[in-house]
Subunit: 228 residues, 4 copies
Amino acid sequence: MKKNLIRKGSTAMPQNKTDIRKKKIIDTATKVFSQRGFKEATISEIAKKAKISEASIYEYFLTKEGLLFSIPVDASQMLFDTMTFHLKLIRGAANKLRAIVFLFIDSYQKNPDFAAVLMLYLKHNKNFLETEGHVAIKAGIKQITTVIDQGIETGEFKKGTNPYLIRSMILGTIEHLVTNWVMTGNPDNLEELVDPMIDVIIQGIENTGNDPVHWSLQRPVKREESSS
Amino acid sequence: MKKNLIRKGSTAMPQNKTDIRKKKIIDTATKVFSQRGFKEATISEIAKKAKISEASIYEYFLTKEGLLFSIPVDASQMLFDTMTFHLKLIRGAANKLRAIVFLFIDSYQKNPDFAAVLMLYLKHNKNFLETEGHVAIKAGIKQITTVIDQGIETGEFKKGTNPYLIRSMILGTIEHLVTNWVMTGNPDNLEELVDPMIDVIIQGIENTGNDPVHWSLQRPVKREESSS
Amino acid sequence: MKKNLIRKGSTAMPQNKTDIRKKKIIDTATKVFSQRGFKEATISEIAKKAKISEASIYEYFLTKEGLLFSIPVDASQMLFDTMTFHLKLIRGAANKLRAIVFLFIDSYQKNPDFAAVLMLYLKHNKNFLETEGHVAIKAGIKQITTVIDQGIETGEFKKGTNPYLIRSMILGTIEHLVTNWVMTGNPDNLEELVDPMIDVIIQGIENTGNDPVHWSLQRPVKREESSS
Amino acid sequence: MKKNLIRKGSTAMPQNKTDIRKKKIIDTATKVFSQRGFKEATISEIAKKAKISEASIYEYFLTKEGLLFSIPVDASQMLFDTMTFHLKLIRGAANKLRAIVFLFIDSYQKNPDFAAVLMLYLKHNKNFLETEGHVAIKAGIKQITTVIDQGIETGEFKKGTNPYLIRSMILGTIEHLVTNWVMTGNPDNLEELVDPMIDVIIQGIENTGNDPVHWSLQRPVKREESSS
DNA sequence: AATGAATGAGCGTTCATTCAT
DNA sequence: CATGAATGAACGCTCATTCAT
């Protein structure tokens, strides 16, 4: 359905002149999109700042949106690789989740412009769903689900845990925090929130052996006590 | 600082012809923005569908973006009022949180176009931060913090609970779920997820009287240091 | 198949401001296209010379090509009407053909820019075939065929006369002469050629009662005398 | 004045690698120009289809228009040679004219792409007038005038015959028929029309010895004056 | 001789917005 | 109050052409 919007090879480890130019375009575009917004940014401005002609940008990317969509491709791939590597060294689903969240947050915090582009212009763009960049991102996200599934299987997490919900809570929280962070000019240290956040999640899903939900509306008897 | 991008009075309960026309514009715009995207949508299209001249739209709203920003004003006010009303009837911070989340989700689920506009075009727009609509939304969000603070005060929630983090987790999860929901064409029933989600959060912050971090195998003691 | 490329009504007898503006655009475009060529001409230039904004041109015409295609609409209609009127007054197919050719040539000679646009940019444009302007032109051309058919029917022209061929000869000659005329800067008086041209055609198709073709290769006997 | 837009030698009988490549470019360009139109066709497309780099095309032709103008050079030369050869074998101006028309039509019918390029993109291009290709074409056309002149001189054609008009009629008819033929996708057999067409012309100009204008009712005597 | 890579120069088209009525 | 008409201001994209190798 969707044509490939990127023209030439990867920029992960740019070796030749072509890849170096391509990377320069992507890096410049990331900055410009982040600072001025995707629609407000112009190819002309990116070209000027990258010291490359506008026409050359169209040599590498078929459209302005194609350029936008190519931004996360390599970054996400690298994050995925890093994640895969680290997860091998960690035991326990809980600790793995913590590592994943930390790596996500750390990656965004180290690349605020990339984080801004991802949170503000990619995550809410329907066209992005069909692109290579999104596939790369999905691979990273998939790791969360996998770890949760493993946690349930090993009995570390409760049997009734809904992996989709937990993944959504983790991703949603990250997205919310990072979005706030990029929209308000990056004042906070996001990494401080990783542990408390994971703590909450884990306590909510860890297998304690006894019925954890003694306060819910559905079990009115026990509820009355704990409710104020 | 807070620019006034709306020209004439409220549309909550349109009485006169002006308010009716204004409401028609907002409703049409909500639909059009939701279906076609903010930038892709044109004033001309909205005018045509609302059977009102383009020039008239500019009688009511100063700019296209002003029209966008006016969309959540009344809806958010109404949600806030409903919330306030319901919260009076509920005891216990946990139950109040559950009610808040339910009301948010319910409101979005009943107005998919509004939800789409909010999640896709307002929540990530820096200019929106300074508007009346955002104030209305913040009022609703403030309720979450208030309830969490109350929960901590009454001892229902753990003392060390970070209200900002918990609020971010709640909002982030809602935003993530609703965004997915609007981007994939509203297939799921979101309300089913309210209880499990709140359950996880509450278990993570409820005051049980004992050390909450009994699940970490790798750093049973060192935890306190590494978490910052 | 083809969308209507013209936006607003006729310019034949411009009454209101809109029609006057539209006519001004068409007249200016005719001049500019004629002098600079269709592809070389720019909307900007037409707008400047017509003292109308570029955007306004797009109010009246959907595309640059649509503007081109709208040039012959009214002119051809008027020519058709004139032709119809005159033909009523003339007896004899031969004389009618002469009148038609004269009116064509006269119309082109009086509007060299229009003639140039028609001959150089419309007659050879495949997209033009599906437009309103082409329909108007075809109506004029149809008259030729009709008159020839009548001539054959009344016995004024030979029975075996191929109307399509004769029409092609008439049109082809006109087109060739007018094209040369516009390409070389309109030096000649084309009307002088109308009579000789029609004379040749008529002599070739008039019904003389005896076999006219005594010289052709196919009848070698008689041929030898007249050849060389 | 006559700019040389071609860089290297003839392609009539390509011997060396250079000429073979050049011919391949011209043949491909003819096809592409014919199918997509001159302006719509791109050098890139021609290069791709000819399996030759764009830069190489510019080794052989100075500009895109120069490439277009070089298309008829060899073809017209060959047609001229063929024509010259055949005319030597034919007696009689009428038969020579027939042969010329037949050779023109036959040549176009056998090379529809070339015919299309000639009729649609060369014949109406003012810049083409100054080129080598046009000179070659003019040589062929000159033959028509020469034959007509000879016919008048030998008394085969009427004394008052206007050679320019007759040539225009012949060329115009051919152009009109071929243009229609290429624009409508080459459905007809054009050769069938050669004889009838020449018959009409010849009858219109052949010397019969008596007053030719016995058919005109309106101006039975005045004819001689009004004809140029 | 041949080409991959780079670009200068341009243009059609879109729309939010204004204004006269 | 309502609107039809007009436009200013941009911008993405294309491609013929050049140049270094």
